[in-house]
């Protein structure tokens, strides 16, 4: 039974593979009966004729609503995408009234948003249209072969079995589409417009500017690029420093806790894990106030008598950069400790014993056995952590909010990462076009580093064979 099923499955697969998308369309034109051909224009007609009422009504309903949508707004929305609106809001002389009247302008932002939506709607309609023809062709073959035509009830059964993925994935995909894909497409397109604080709808229009934003960002000399390059530099320094410091610190801590003679290991582990178990907005905001000029740490140090005046943790640019890296250790080390602990326990004992027999001391063992072993297994996580740190919004934003501010920078401070700068540009600066450009650049950076990872990870290739 199983073998039989697999066989039919594979034949179906090979047939559908051989018949590419265009191929089955041509097939429908050539060999389709009159109902199939009619279905090319009036969707669902073939289903209705063959008694698949619900399916047929669904197709027809989709077609009608799509046509109504296209005629009333859709066509215009797609058409408007080209210019993003022409009429600017402003005072226009009204002859009948004899005074200036405020005339509503086009809202470029809404035009772009609805335009993208319309394009997506068209593509989804095309998919449904093709499903309709496929269904018509299937019905035709079934009828020619004299087989029973599946009714609505059978269809439902099929959607809980062979086509289960359609049923289960529908809502998740809808969510992904509405809250990830659509907004992302919108923001990516914004990077190619001049949607900045000077061009805010509804008062003003914005329009396509091609690669201007990227030029402003990457060239040398402008205010934007004078901010971009230093911020990029700091982002990379931060990512390298944060990744490696927490990585090595975490491994050392894990080794320390896992030493044979340590009592109540889980107690120590929990003490350290507390710092990541508590929401970051609590711990980081606390750290922020503790390290203020008049904050708890300065007060404590002054009470003990170690220092006479406060240390300016957040107001001195260099010190602020060092402080964020150090505070990040507080969160990052337990995190690495957590991941590495399991790996440490899996290191073959024989390796250590052999090394001891050869007279290796603990330091040699650490550098020749423990480190290479852990590094070998965790190399992929290292790159993920690196990308994570490039995007480490919370630590920077909650601790310093990018400060101390720098007047030479364009709305950025000395500890701003690309992502926190992006956030500031969108929320306070309303410089959406620059923000999106930065987003795309961060994306490209992440892609480059991930490619390094995936090309090196055998596990990913193996997954391809998994089945």
């Amino acid at each position: 039974m199983k073998i039989e099923m697999e066989e039919t499955n594979s034949t179906i697969k090979s047939v559908s593979k051989a018949k590419g998308k265009s191929f089955f369309l041509r097939d429908a034109f050539k060999n389709g009966d009159k109902f199939t051909k009619l279905s090319l224009i009036i969707m669902g007609i073939s289903n209705l004729v063959h008694g698949q009422i619900v399916k047929g009504l669904f197709f027809i309903f989709t077609e009608i609503s799509f046509l109504i949508y296209m005629i009333t707004t859709g066509m215009e929305e797609i058409f408007l995408l080209g210019s993003l609106g022409k009429t600017q809001q402003g005072w226009v002389y009204n002859e009948t009234l004899g005074i200036d009247v405020l005339q509503d302008g086009d809202n470029s932002m809404l035009i772009l948003l609805f335009g993208i939506f319309a394009v997506f709607a068209v593509s989804i309609f095309i998919l449904i249209w093709m499903a309709n023809i496929k269904s018509a062709m299937e019905l035709q073959t079934l009828k020619n072969d004299g087989k029973k035509i599946p009714m609505f009830k059978d269809d439902i059964k099929e959607y809980l079995d062979g086509k289960l993925h359609n049923t289960l994935m529908f809502l998740p995909l809808l969510g992904i589409f509405a809250f990830t894909v659509l907004p992302l497409a919108f923001m990516i397109l914004i990077a190619f417009t001049n949607y900045d604080s000077q061009h805010q709808p509804p008062g003003n229009l914005f329009t396509w500017v091609g690669l201007e934003n990227f030029k402003a960002m990457l060239s040398v000399g402008g205010t934007i690029s004078n901010t971009f390059w230093p911020v990029l530099g700091w982002t990379l320094i931060w990512a390298v420093a944060a990744t490696f410091s927490t990585y090595i610190g975490g491994i050392l801590l894990a080794i320390l806790i896992n030493k044979k003679n340590v009592k109540i290991k889980s107690f120590w582990r929990t003490m350290f894990i507390l710092s990541i178990a508590i929401p970051q907005f609590v711990t980081l905001l606390t750290m922020k106030t503790m390290l203020q000029d008049e904050g708890a740490l300065n007060v404590l140090l002054q009470e003990i008598g170690l220092i006479s005046g406060p240390i300016h943790f957040w107001t001195d640019p260099t010190l602020a950069r060092i402080t964020v890296i150090v505070v990040n250790l507080w969160i990052g080390i337990p995190f690495t400790m957590l991941t590495v602990t399991g790996i440490l326990m899996n290191i073959p004992k024989e390796l250590y014993e052999a090394a001891k027999v050869d007279g290796a001391g603990p330091i040699v063992i650490f550098f020749k056995i423990t480190m290479p072993y852990v590094l070998f297994i965790t190399a992929p996580t290292l790159i993920t952590a690196f990308i994570g740190n490039i995007n480490n919004f919370n630590v920077i934003y909650l601790l310093t909010a990018g400060g101390p501010a720098n007047l030479n920078y364009f709305q950025a401070g000395k500890t701003d990462l690309l992502v926190t700068w992006l956030f500031k540009l969108t929320t306070t600066g309303k410089e959406y076009s620059y923000a999106s450009t930065i987003g795309i650049i961060v994306f490209i950076l992440s892609i480059i580093f991930s490619l390094l990872l995936y090309r090196k990870t055998a596990a990913y290739k193996e997954e391809g064979d998994f089945s």
Binding site: M1, L113, F179, L274, F281, T283, T378, G439, V442, S446
Partner: protein, 280 residues
Amino acid sequence: MKIRKILDFSFTHILLLLLSIVWVMPILWVVLISFRQEAGSFTPYFFPKALTLDNYIKLFTDTKQFYFAKWFGNTLFVAICSCILSTFYNLSTSYCLSRLRFRIRKPFMSFALILGMFPGFMSMIAVYYILKGVGISQSLIALILVYSGGAGLGFYIAKGFFDTIPKALDESALIDGATKFQIFHKIILPLSKPIMVFTVLTSFMAPWMDYIFASVIMGDNYDNYTVAIGLTKMLDREFINTFYTQFAAGAVLVSIPIAILFIIMQKYYVEGVSDGSVKG
């Protein structure tokens, strides 16, 4: 030899003790502040002069400026709804990608990988405008939809878990005439309790911790704030002097359940991190 062992033992433990003091101190400090009687964000001395429970009491009774109890309720509501939706989205997607074979499976996985490379909040403003367009910005429903919307993309951990369940189980059920949906909810899900708990709890915790999306979506609608934005608001320049100790009290109240949940789940957390990175 014995002396060396004792030395080693005490040295290790002293080091651990010192390190844990450094690690725990900021946390103890918040707890201490939450009991401090003197208001104000900064005091010229480290240890509070007098302790009190007033901050906790005020947090719930003084609703003139901030309404912590309501924020707590909001967050709980959002957390429960979004955790139901996210768990459903996440497990469905994971099951499909792990067990079913269909045309868009591979493209979808690569697509998810690429989507994950964009900075998460790059799309934030667009999400805000979409919600505004639909007319539900600044509402709790908007938050629920945003938190659960992307859940289908976080399939790595659950998929990895499903992958480890033997295929033979599915096949024998198939021979007995089970549909794939029955296999999903009668065989796979009962076997995946740990991962279900993990998915439920992580999605339950997210609204308690998220600051960025919530603050952008809610704007100045204090009534619909979640605890994270509400408490952060207390540290704004105009409020910090009056509300600092109350902030600490609220932070402690939120942190306790979250920290307990996290410590319970740390094992899965580790698996998730290493799985997600290796399998992509």
